[in-house]
Symmetry: C2
Subunit: 492 residues, 2 copies
């Protein structure tokens, strides 16, 4: 899976000939690259997208097709939800930090409705209906709007007025990143962007003045030098598929064992090329770490998460990506979900198989369950007694789980679902990447722009700078791709 190491740029003078030329060259044809290509081509720039796969799509095509949009989109309004850019921005700053890029968030929140219509004009539509928060974060037939974050959970609900912002691209009611990519790829072709598949890019071409002038691609076993008259947009994903980069930048992710990425994609080549050409890579330890214990059974949120001391450590209703971050990075990946018989349901085959949830222990009392898990004597019994006493009154003074999830766990037997890292499901992808302006221009370590170089999607550090909600990567990719494509096309 480790890719070749050739990120140092080639000098303009060492290019024997230009095999191809375009105004804007886009590297990678996932959501970010496709949107960059569309906008660049529409702006009148001759545009060439280079894709390593045999077709475009990348990890975006393998995603669930959720796009985080808000600020009062037609879908939100049709489903009866109020939202505005300020509330959306407040939530994103709180959930994408510390150190969120507030300017990117502000622009995206203000532009979100326009972005909705832009996607719509490409044929990307959402079924008008809302899946109740208590039921699922995934779409259902006829229902394209879902909650995909911690908007309703403490402390976020006190920071910003909650609204569902998961806009789900569906095919026959099932979430489909593939359909999203189909629309975007058709859009890119319609806009006049050329596509070269089977083209692997690992080296940029840089002139005497430091300006990025093109890219070296390996196509069908041969080398092609592709000149970019106005700029190169790097949009080839993150680095979760590159163990060496993980070791260097985010070593704790190596424990998780499963990555969210297209096969062979997200190998860090875009980030490495950008750094080689002078770009700064920032927030490289940031990641989306998913701990998705409620995916197949939303009632699991009524359960109690405990750590190796048998203590609760979080309100169970925060979103799955925050759960992953907290469980792995604050609890050492040693956590279990405790449920009673009123919650436990025999696993739905597909959902549970997907997640790989396993029951670690079953017992008639919490004390006994704690003993089976090897927790300190008495701790789990006390944790549940305190939880139950408060839950009976609809309260959670420790972590403020929302009332709708509070109910004493009092019907034996009790079960503990194993969520320890290495035992439970921790799919991950990386959020760190090239430091960019909101325009998509890549910045060097001084904060100056690297001429001719742009980045979008997970190749850049974007809106989900240091925290994640589902749909944010596609939102960020499509939005930042558009901006990068436009800026590149307008570059003199």
């Amino acid at each position: 899976m480790t890719s070749a190491r050739a990120a140092q740029p080639r000098h303009f003078r060492e290019v024997p000939r230009w095999d191809r030329e375009a105004d804007v060259v886009v590297v990678g044809l996932g959501a970010a690259g496709a949107c960059a290509a569309i906008e660049a081509a529409r702006a009148g720039a001759s545009t060439l997208a280079l894709e390593r796969g045999w077709r475009g799509g990348g990890t975006s095509a393998e995603s669930t097709g959720q796009i985080y949009l808000g600020g009062g989109t037609p879908l939100q309004k049709a489903c009866g939800f109020e939202d505005d850019p300020e509330e959306m921005a407040k939530y994103l700053v709180a959930s994408c930090g510390p150190g969120a890029d507030e300017e990117k968030i502000r622009r995206f929140s203000e532009g979100s409705v326009e972005h909705y219509h832009w996607l719509g004009a490409l044929g990307i539509a959402f079924e008008v209906g809302f899946v109740p928060y208590e039921e699922s974060t995934m779409p259902r037939p006829g229902k394209g709007l879902t909650y995909t974050g911690s908007e309703r959970a403490h402390p976020f609900r006190e920071i910003a007025r909650p609204a569902p912002r998961g806009h789900n691209v569906t095919r026959n009611g099932v979430a489909s990143g593939e359909l999203l990519m189909q629309h975007l790829l058709v859009g890119a072709a319609a806009a006049g962007a050329a596509v070269q598949t089977d083209a692997r890019c690992e080296t940029l071409v840089v002139g005497d003045d430091g300006r990025v002038a093109g890219v070296v691609a390996r196509v069908a076993g041969g080398e092609q030098c592709v000149r970019a008259r106005r700029g190169v947009v790097l949009a080839s994903g993150g680095f979760v598929n590159d163990p060496e980069m993980l070791r260097r930048y985010a070593p704790d992710l190596l424990q998780t064992g499963r990555v969210i990425a297209a096969e062979g994609g997200d190998d860090g080549s875009g980030i490495r090329m950008g750094v080689g050409a002078g770009g700064a890579a920032v927030r490289m330890g940031a990641a989306c770490i998913v701990l998705s214990f409620a995916y197949g059974n939303r009632d699991h949120i009524r359960g109690v998460l405990v750590n190796a001391q048998g203590q609760r450590y979080v309100n169970e209703d925060v979103y799955q990506s925050l759960h992953g971050e907290i469980a792995l990075r604050r609890q050492g990946g040693q956590v279990w979900l405790v449920v009673d018989d009123s919650i436990y349901r025999p696993p739905e085959q597909d959902a549970y198989a997907y997640l790989g949830l396993r029951v670690a222990a079953v017992a008639e009392t919490p004390e006994e369950l704690g003993r089976e898990l090897g927790l300190p004597e008495g701790s789990l019994g006390h944790t549940l007694a305190v939880y139950n006493a408060h839950a009976a009154r609809g309260e959670d003074p420790l972590f403020h789980k929302e009332r709708c999830w509070l109910r004493p766990l009092a019907r034996p037997p009790y079960a503990a679902i194993d969520l320890r890292v290495g035992h439970g499901p921790y799919p991950v992808f990386t959020l760190g990447g090239l430091w960019t302006l909101p325009t998509g221009e890549v910045r060097d370590v001084d904060g100056e722009v690297v001429s001719g170089l742009f980045a979008a999607g997970r190749t850049a550090s974007g809106i989900p700078a240091q925290g994640y909600n589902s749909g944010l990567s596609l939102a960020d990719a499509t939005w930042s791709g558009r901006l990068a494509g436009r800026t590149a096309a307008a570059t003199g």
Copy 2:
């Protein structure tokens, strides 16, 4: 405090003339720079050190002069402690991770006794005596050996055989980084290294081949171009004094408010220059975050640390830098130390003033104390009841605090010492920096060496990659400085 932004290297051809030349040019004259200069000069290279201050010393001179050494040093042996390189390496890998640089640790552990003698030959001696672990981690008159890490605390004591490794440079029994630096600076002069003070370096000079050929320094208001025939060693500290870099790479440190750094030093200029010349910066979020609640009163370790839920969250006997990491990054900086009247002592003026410890609340019972702190009703009472019941038996089944610290907290009144970030003391410095080989050669994003460029001390990511023990930064700086100086001198 923000420094100028000029990290993009200047091209060799744009250098009007060389004002000065040397084989090896060292940027920064703290511990790392001084050791680099000594070794380079001793190896026969003409060596010039450029220091921004009016004299050398940097943050090293303002430190407590603790050096983490082990593997069976003469001081350890004289004090009756067994140690060997394997145990030392095992401890360092565990406490400097995840993602510790095992090769750097192995070499340092194996070379530690030799390094001890090397320092000794420069006049750096340690008083032969051991300060008992229960008493202090700082030296006393006649006693230069102390514990300066979590060696005796769970889980480390099960990973490696504990030994004290804090080798303290003292003057009149008081820890003194200034005395350490005096010896190192005299050593550099004796070795024949030239020093230019008041020389601020922010730009490297790079040739057509990418090789680092020198540095541009501002001396007395004018610009001097200094040629480095063999190499430049960047040793100008970390970036804790640069708020812009903190925002980009380690935003949570901005909450802590206090930095450990020489005034104007540790401004990230070395790291930025290195990145500008093609070096990769890694583990940039890593930091030493000190939460030093037991500095003035070691008995505080007998107290109980609680979080915003009134729960314990760590064994109180881990080292202060691990406490800071855990409190800030895993508990959101919302923690208190609870003590009873058998532990509490009126603050010793100097120690407490240094730390700024404040009492948040005093009460006759734990329940009442919890109420005053605004903790969930009943939680603190339960926490102390559980702690006391086990402590009476010399046990801590939740966190395994060592038996010597266990005693019920049963003598009212109870006090809570405020350790919340923004209220308690959280001095910090950064650990992230340039990616280097153990030889000190700087690596680019492909892992290839950047010709002519070396880094040492906090300008590099070194032995304390992702976790800290006191004395490790001086150990790493002196050791990595030596290696970088030697390698640079031997470069063709």
